[in-house]
Symmetry: C2
Subunit: 182 residues, 2 copies
Amino acid sequence: MRVAAGQRLRVVDVEGGQVADTFAFRADDVSEYQSAEHTRVHVNRLFPRPGEHFVTNHRRPILLLEEDDTPGIHDMLCAACDPERYTGLGVEGWHASCQENLQKAMAELGVERIEIPQPINLFMNIPVLEQGAIGWEPAMTKAGDSVTLRAEMDCYVVVSACPQDIVVINNKQPSPVAIELL
Amino acid sequence: MRVAAGQRLRVVDVEGGQVADTFAFRADDVSEYQSAEHTRVHVNRLFPRPGEHFVTNHRRPILLLEEDDTPGIHDMLCAACDPERYTGLGVEGWHASCQENLQKAMAELGVERIEIPQPINLFMNIPVLEQGAIGWEPAMTKAGDSVTLRAEMDCYVVVSACPQDIVVINNKQPSPVAIELL
């Protein structure tokens, strides 16, 4: 959806245990978008805390993490799932993916050409273990848990309920995510 | 430089304590490039170990981390430094940056339009601390330490000796990096 600067939106994990891949692009120039690697440098963390910003690849604030009533476990290390991911996991034929969901949503908004940025993987539970290993764990969110974001510039925000049903991140039962414009 | 599939190159920290931002683009389609977020998923780690691959945004191997005779501390979390980074650090006017070095090198190779990917920050010392904080520490490499990479497809590889002299990552004394085509 298109969100104006200052508008707030709530991303709700309706049934719990569901990852929500979230993307944000500047509305008047989609080559500027929320960038995980610039955000990490901006906040000196793997993921912002409430009151901190996600920034773009031009280091400008695009979204504020205003409230977080979840256990506070989110990911910004793992690429969106895509057709190649499912092929690599042994899927034959088509499988829904966050990348395709993003491309479809942006096309419906009239934007055909976009880069695929590292998403803000809300509710995703990817612990950093010893020696730089990363784990893949089920999301810890309960039904109704939510995160509230505020747009800091006019932007397109796309949220994909991750359809991953092979790896355990969604408890192997993908479920809906709701987006409320406040 | 352009590197053919199967060719190997050694990136040498000549004087020690110097970060080398390294980028790789598929030669016949630069919209495919080494992707940190796809590589992390591929190796289930923040950074590959020797014998493991860096993969592209289409999840294809592009570089093999063949040998590593450094302390094994590298980064793939932090964006390349760019003009906005130095402005944010209080620099007035121009400052060299890894982003500009990349753009200049690719332009010399005849490629004007590229995405700026998250680099492979060889030798960069960014520890992940408690509660998801990240630290900025001086590179631990000694003079002559090196990493050997093997190209898995025809690609452009660009290495930028990071000119960061405000944050301590290069011990505030940027120094040369050598690239040897083996």
